[in-house]
Symmetry: C2
Amino acid sequence: MIRLFVPHPLKAGAGVAPTVDQSRYLTAVMRLNVGDEILVFNGQDGEWRCSLAEAGKRGCLLKAEEQTRPQAYGPDLDLVIAMVKRGRVETIVEKAAELGARRVRLTQTRRTNVDFLKLGRLDAIAIEAAEQTGRLDVPAVDDPQKLDKILDAWDPARTLIFCDEGGDARPLIEAAAPRERGDAPGPAAILIGPEGGFAPEERERLRSLPFVIPVTLGPRILRADTAAIAAMTLWQAVAGDWR
Amino acid sequence: MIRLFVPHPLKAGAGVAPTVDQSRYLTAVMRLNVGDEILVFNGQDGEWRCSLAEAGKRGCLLKAEEQTRPQAYGPDLDLVIAMVKRGRVETIVEKAAELGARRVRLTQTRRTNVDFLKLGRLDAIAIEAAEQTGRLDVPAVDDPQKLDKILDAWDPARTLIFCDEGGDARPLIEAAAPRERGDAPGPAAILIGPEGGFAPEERERLRSLPFVIPVTLGPRILRADTAAIAAMTLWQAVAGDWR
């Protein structure tokens, strides 16, 4: 069944107005008629079965019928990613939504030489991927911030898994696994560097911080999008909701 | 340093002729001069430091100076992937090269409704990704074959890790890990279905085969490219060369 994200309150009997694009998708592309049903979520009120109540030229109206799933969130995982080429950032945001990250934070590092980014487009990608993957929230995509600023304000209760190309780090599945089977893993974030890697002074600072765990992602050089997907996958497998 | 794949023998003193495109890349894009050095591999003779010996209008010539790494292959992992949209197949081939698969086999399943594919383009993607990731071979990309044919001719010594959306399968990191720590894992392949999933009769056949291990990739619906990347990553982490 079609699933749509709408940023409006959902409760039994409530009218829900999709955007113009969503309306067009429902009536012109998917050819829904009044009475047909879809699933809707807003990141707060769970998932609702909604029926198409009105379909006009200027948009359509849905009516929330029944909650199908209560609101739930995945494990508390963020992704901090140095800006790379637009296409790869878009892939990373899509995959972060599929792999259950709650938040994607873009960062500028010494060797970042990219500074475009219409964040609206990234939000749209996050929403579409969240709709398709079945989750009940949409990952937030934050404006780019300097890495030093992000680290200055870091909550030390959140482990920062630093994907290091240095070579002497431990494999992620060992370093990031909770110590005892059954231990609840705390909040975590994964940090992926730019295509040119981190500068030596950035690497030194990261390795000196008590909340940082350096990890390795195998013997081959990975592009930033591959590294991000691999690291999120491994974290979900050993500390997240793939267990 | 620049790394190039060339399908020619490599030994000390040998002349190596790159393709026209590679020549243009070396001299016009990267602006190399005679005497400058690059790394070259051919999938058989290891990696060689080569110097630019001639640079003319109709191409250039390299000279193999010294072997920098002996030939080596990664773990014996194949990827069998139902054809999906071109862009996603291209992503999958690129990622298979980065994540160390030796061979990508395309397959037609009951619910595959895509049948384009210039394989030349996929080979070029595999080569470029192999050059960048630092491996010493290039994954083969096989022409599409019907899934039933592939299964009929399957070597039962190769475990087939079937990424199943059925729900009752075990997590990949448990199901695919060698039984004892230190056990050498045998040859393996990962099977990823089309966007619409496998047909019930395909799923039944797969589950009845003695060499098939059904596995799950977490609670969210993953696109084919995400599933392929996640499965290769997890296999490398527990049974491959990320340990």
